[in-house]
Amino acid sequence: MTDAPAASLRDHHGPWFGGYGGVFMPEPLMAAIDELAACYEACKVDPAFQAEFARLSRDYTGRPSMLTEASRLSEQAGARILLKREDLNHTGSHKINNVLGQALVAQRLGKTRLIAETGAGQHGVATATAAALFGMECVVYMGEVDTERQALNVARMRLLGAEVVPVTSGSRTLKDAINEGLRDWVANVDSTHYLMGTVAGPHPFPEMVRDFHRAIGEEAREQTIAMTGGLPDAVLACVGGGSNAMGIFHAFLDDADVQLIGLEAAGDGADTERHALSIERGEPGLLHGMRTYLLQDGDGQTLESHSISAGLDYPGVGPEHAWLHDIGRAEYQPVSDAEAMEAFLALTRAEGIIPAIESAHAIAGAMRLARELPGSTLLVSLSGRGDKDVATAGRWFDVLDEDARQQ
């Protein structure tokens, strides 16, 4: 069940990316999936929809986001590092791009309620924000473990009017939040849109979420040419489900000389059992309605993933990434918690930019690649800001006062 590749990798669309993707959903949800896919096909070619999405992206999100040359970090690394500043978007990450697009689709479908899963909380915050903007109800499912490590974002969502439901099943992290979201959706499908936060899940989500993030790469490509006179040697982005990576990679898919590098979370280390290396250590299988690389045991049970970064703590990956890996167009490398935190501090101290720990994985990948390719130009997706991670980083670097440590 695969389709022939499009002449341009950029033109490739779902439901299949090579042998990955598809629609593996329980029958009760198939009508909603079919309805969503048909609606999105119509939105893609509707100038009014595209104009409204562009307007929101400009006037609400604050697009285009800047491209910042990280001069002092570049000096340390030995390569020219350019940062695509998705951290400057409204709500503090790239997540808002997709959320606004899907909220428009949901509105067109006549849905009045948005539900979402969230790991780090950035997608939940973005969804709660869109729900407030569109006047919709909002419920966010979040693994209990993540509600504890991302307490600030839980408060933000509640302030925005969303109900945050801690998920206590399974590993109590992102994958279980998705399961719970899907259970809600099947029970409330008439009124509710499930707002998937990454390029994962059944078709049309991987394609639709990628499309709503395409501006990241399109802007960055033009900005890089304008700033440096040419294309970057490599584009780097962190990969959990892989939405910011797919967003920035997409514009460069047909530029054969540009390396595309996704950084997966290696947690305690690639040589340990506590990681989230879905591509490097996973096997093809089914999870959350798609066929993709996932961490699983010999019986097909999903294994728990581990990362200091809640947003990368996912045992699967978007199907387009699985395909890009297989055809050799993108490369996926591990970055451990320790490497990510070292890069987090390096960027913070060199540039005065505190990144999300997720994004710090991409910075770590760039610092590593700079050693291999001195003098090269490296474009990095700075997918989110680090406000939500200050407590985690404060504990890691032992800079919290005693009172704050107790909290």
Partner: protein, 291 residues
């Protein structure tokens, strides 16, 4: 090994008043799960649905989630499933259908899984997250190993999707009573009756018939009785799982017996035809399982 009958034969032998009981394989432990399955068959279940514990059970509500999660935590392996099926079919003639999410089967190997299931005396599979359009490998394996394949139809399913479920299913069409996950409910949705009627109508339009067993939300004899006025079978899961967890085999046997009382009185509105239609006909010889 007791004499084997197919799922369809069992439902027809019940006069189209089947009670199908769901229990997870290996819950709370392998030996108890085998005893519990045999007990509900002895207490009046027409067929047994044996669930494969899975890490991401998207269609299951809290009771079944908790049971299967604890089973996985104690180290459940797929080998236990085949062991359980073989042990149960050795002691009861009630067909044993396995209810499984698809990734465990995919990982194990579709044909290998089918072969082992048939060898253990299993009747077939119910596949909640595998729809007919993705089931080519499974349908081929089921054909090769003479196994039932039960697909779902939901209140939200289009006519075209119901047609596909009717065409691809053998045994019965799993008629999803309500839009939601598994779990006891006080009232089974009117949607179930409407869906059962639609399935019958679509099957008739295609020149065939389909057995319809209704699942999700059924937990009392009254609900069983109500469902059997318009369908060929009622499926009970969470209530049995809760009873097994709380009171062990005696409790689950007692509940199954009380549910079976709902199958006894009155006749169905339109009893299943005595002559098996071609699309769901099964002329499988009785098989010997040697596990």
């Amino acid at each position: 090994m007791t004499a084997r009958i197919t799922t369809e034969e069992a439902i027809r032998a019940s006069g189209g008043r089947a009670l199908i009981g769901y229990l997870p394989a290996g819950f709370p432990d392998l030996a108890t799960s085998i005893e519990a399955a045999v007990a509900i068959a002895e207490a009046g279940c027409t067929a047994i649905e044996l669930g494969v514990p899975y890490s991401d059970p998207g269609m299951d509500g809290p009771v079944i989630q908790a049971a299967t999660q604890s089973t996985l935590e104690r180290g459940f392996r797929l080998e236990e499933l085949f062991e359980a099926v073989a042990a149960i079919t050795a002691r009861t003639s009630a067909p044993v259908l396995v209810m499984t999410y698809w990734n465990p089967v995919l990982r194990y190997g579709v044909d290998r899984f089918a072969e082992q299931l048939a060898a253990a005396g299993g009747a077939g599979l119910i596949t909640p997250d595998l729809t007919p359009e993705n089931a080519a490998d499974w349908l081929a394996a089921a054909e090769r190993h003479d196994l039932d394949r039960v697909f779902l139809a939901a209140p939200s399913s289009s006519d075209a999707r119901i047609d596909r479920a009717v065409e691809a299913s053998r045994g019965f069409v799993y008629t999803v009573s309500t839009m939601g996950t598994t779990g006891a409910r006080t009232d089974v949705d009117d949607a179930a009756r409407a869906l059962a009627d639609r399935i019958a109508a679509r099957a008739a339009a295609a020149g065939t018939t389909a057995l319809r067993c209704v699942g999700l939300g059924i937990s009392t004899a009254d609900q069983v009785r109500d469902v059997l006025t318009y369908a060929d079978g009622a499926i009970v899961g969470s209530a049995l799982v809760r009873a097994l967890g709380a009171g062990g085999v005696p409790a689950v046997r007692e509940l199954a017996a009380s549910l079976a009382a709902g199958t006894l009185d009155g006749g169905p509105a339109d009893a299943a035809p005595a002559i098996a239609p071609s699309s769901t006909a099964s002329s499988s010889p009785q098989k010997d399982a040697s596990a």
